[in-house]
Amino acid sequence: MKKSLSLLFLCSSLLVHSQWIKEKGTGYAKLGSWSLLANQHFTDQGLTDPNSTRGLFINSIYGEIGIGKKINLIAYLPFFVKNYQFAQISKTTGKVYEPRQVFNGLGDFNLGLEYGLGQLNNWNFSATVTFGIPSGKSVAGVDGSYQTGDGEFNQLIQVNTGKSYTLGNHAFYFKSYLGYNNRSQGFSDEFHSFGETGTQLFNSKLLILTRLHWIKPL
């Protein structure tokens, strides 16, 4: 039986820190939703196996605000996480042998502080510390597998840099960071590297970007 991987991204919202520090009292917030539906998964052999169709639907608020001359407060609040599995129905008898399962709850909140380090040759530098709060449920649902969080406390320290540049007459931006995530509860610590470049079109109504986020467990 061949099944295809079904991925449905309605809207992506990643916790990405900028290195341009906002002035005190200014900032922004954005509401984000994304959904993932999958009927295959990668195994420990690097191959794909079929599984019962599982879905994840996350709604979140992300915000940054200046709270000092060079300090921003950053928050990522996944306030509604739905983890669910489709009902399992026999193709031969039509009988439901596994009913639909669902668990709704909070996800893991991230709270961070970003400090502006300054500018060097048009490159802006900042440093960020982010705390991953285990506000979600790491064991949830009928069999414990409908988790909305990983149950561990993360501490991610990173150095960010970025700059604006032009190609022709068009303005672009580039930003990147290197980070170390200290994890608890026996999870592997991680080395993070991240790069993103993009530009705005149609009077800043449309943002086009590409990004690469590489995480290496240590």
């Binding site: 195994t43 052999q45 599982r54 599995q85 042998y97 596994e98 069999d143 597998s145």
Partner: protein, 107 residues
């Protein structure tokens, strides 16, 4: 007939292999896994069942969560289960309802 023997084989890309013997002992039915038994530890919830349908755990008898992943071990089954009550041993990832492997007890 007091026992059946065979091989556990993977039906997924997770490692699962090894010989088995299902035997009637004086104190009940016992499922023995041989020294060559190996199972992946990567699954979040590997369970072992006895079933008459190799494709579902519906109606199957759940022996329990797999806690041995390497080498010989055994499961003592309730006296209510007879040697020929079930045709298959199933290994199943319970949380994600994924078949991992099977062994045919008898035809």
């Amino acid at each position: 007939m007091t026992s059946f023997s065979g091989k556990v084989v993977s039906k997924s890309s997770y490692r699962l292999e090894g010989g088995f013997t299902l035997a009637r002992e004086s104190d009940g039915l016992v499922l023995y896994l041989d020294e060559d038994y190996r199972a992946s530890t990567a699954l979040p919830g590997l369970y072992i069942y006895l079933s008459n349908n190799a494709n579902t755990t519906a109606g199957a008898y759940e022996i329990g969560a797999v806690t041995f992943f390497n080498g010989a071990h055994s499961y003592t089954l309730p006296n209510s289960i007879e040697l020929m009550d079930y045709k298959y041993i199933l290994y199943w990832c319970k949380p994600f309802n994924v078949k991992v492997g099977e062994a045919k007890i008898y035809d």
